[in-house]
Symmetry: C2
């Protein structure tokens, strides 16, 4: 039976992933911390809150327009910590290499990881390298895990959205997904879209410096903005309404999406975050985000509602309401 | 050129691994913490010391006599933290699954990981699952990363061995290596050897409860006892002399090693630790170790010397001295 095997869907970050986590992992491993089900776990040590997280990176191709698996593996984990309001401090780096992998490619990847680490102000403190025989893995897989300190008074969680809150994003959506797909398939669009892969910790720090009144931070990676909004809606028990007319998408990404039959709302991003705050702080936060190098195109894209609890809706340009389901199926395996 | 590619040697934990770490990783990623080069990094947070580590597990076969990749991935990381004298607290779990992997095997593996976590008293606080298309990975790879608290006054490090110290080990060597090899090749030895895979944190806690005067703890995994002793000798700038007559090896492991042409001193262990202490505390510690379920066959196997700095030597049963080089080459890829 098909359902008795792992499918690509199970790694999509969408509905099937959620189901696997629930039925296989949570039922066996559950504890008070794992139950939080946020981008990072929040642990308490010495009376302080820390965020802790892990992510494996299996992106194909390993070098793509705008980055490579090395920089991506730092950005992704730095961002997962940042989405908890944490200041990322220490990362570990675990490599699985395929026998025969070119040393010069490994050097390039580690160069990028080192540069990304320096740029984000974090330290890689421990590492591990395994090599498997040719054909037992595809080139290189990277795992990074990390910890960061959550400043006192910060309580950011996907469960904290409240009716009336506004939803903003720090820039164009879908660039990572399009960049990976075009790099993988050797497609050439002019201008060539670059992945938005970037560390968002300084952006988050600048927001929290202006206002501690941030309810949710979430990076819409696998499954895209639509899936992230769904998860927030479910975890917070609220509805989320976004407006198609306000969604920032670059013309090249829109054109490529249409040509390839992809919905930008489901494409992965690696340098974006959804920010949900009470309306009274939204203007201040938006103007702060816009001053950051990764937030120039920030926009308010929607609002949190008490009706339609557990659902995300898109108000289309022509005025209709479309339910944004979680991602089902997986069009783009190995997107990160 | 062969040397311009990654080879299985680079993942052996021996000489080639060391060289790769030095030339590719340390040169690019170095910082004060990574420079320590111990089983775990020691980081300072809120005025306390924490250990942090990562390991990826690619063992083949994934189910073997005495364990599976799930329990192994918990034991290995718990032990790396324990070898720093830390009390392991929180682990992350990152899975890379091959499309088509049987769900029931995944459930068995997570059951084992859950049981091992419970047994070791740690919590898995965050997880990640990636799925790659069929043929892009071999069944399942697991990464675990973890943190633990190092109690005040504990300073255990592979750089702390001092001339005059005694070297002990908590039981038979080589069982994991033999168990994996025989499981992999479908060999049947009677009695069937089981992997020694086990969490050593309670053993370490019982030692440190008796005496804080422990200089080195090290788990001889990839590369075996010989490679671990070499690393300690280099990092501490001392010689280490062990005695063949005192090495605990089970008869089945010795017989299998001889038959397969393997040296037990280079076989991986997953439930053993080398303990190096000043002689005045050795008897007390040894008797404490012997009372633990994972220490019944504990023995003093050697001593630390000021001569032969940076080398490990084996005094053979017939009275000769053999230099134990680090592992070179890799007879057993995917041993853990």
């Amino acid at each position: 039976m098909k359902t008795q095997q792992i499918t690509l869907d199970h790694g999509s970050g969408g509905e099937a992933s959620r189901e696997l986590v629930k039925t296989v992992f949570m039922s066996r491993l559950r504890n008070d911390i794992l139950d939080q089900m946020d981008d990072s776990a929040v642990i308490t040590l010495f009376g302080h809150h820390l965020a802790m997280t892990t992510d494996s990176y299996v992106v194909d191709p390993i070098f793509f327009s705008g980055g490579n698996i090395g920089s991506l593996s730092i950005h992704g984990t730095v961002n997962d910590l940042s989405m908890q309001g944490a200041k990322p401090l220490f990362l570990t780096l675990g490599l699985i290499l395929e026998e025969g992998f070119p040393l010069k490619d490994l050097e390039k990847i580690i160069d990028s990881a080192a540069e990304a680490s320096k740029d984000a102000g974090i330290k890689i403190v421990a590492g591990d390298t395994k090599v498997v025989p040719r054909g037992n893995a595809d080139k290189i897989f990277i795992n990074t895990a990390g910890i960061g300190i959550i400043p006192d008074g910060i309580d950011v969680s996907s469960g904290n959205a409240r009716p009336g809150d506004l939803v903003m994003i720090n820039g164009d959506i879908g660039d990572h997904g399009i960049a990976i797909l075009t790099s993988r398939e050797g497609l050439s669009f002019k201008p060539q879209l670059e992945s938005d892969s970037a560390a968002l910790n300084t952006l988050v720090a600048s927001i929290l410096n202006i206002s501690k009144n941030v309810h949710v931070l979430r990076d819409p990676t696998r499954g895209g903005v639509a899936t992230a909004l769904n998860e927030i809606a479910v975890q917070s028990g609220v509805g989320i309404q976004i407006f198609e007319a306000d969604l920032p998408i670059s013309k090249p990404a829109l054109a490529a999406s249409e040509l390839l039959g992809l919905d930008p709302l489901y494409l992965a991003n690696e340098g974006k975050c959804l920010i949900i705050t009470p309306p009274e702080d939204a203007d201040l936060i938006l103007s702060s985000v816009k001053q950051h190098r990764h937030g120039k195109k920030a926009r308010i894209i929607g609002k949190v509602t008490s009706d339609n609890a557990g659902k995300a809706l898109l108000k289309t340009k022509v005025g209709g309401n479309r339910i944004l389901a979680m991602l089902t199926g997986e069009q783009l395996p190995r997107i990160c």
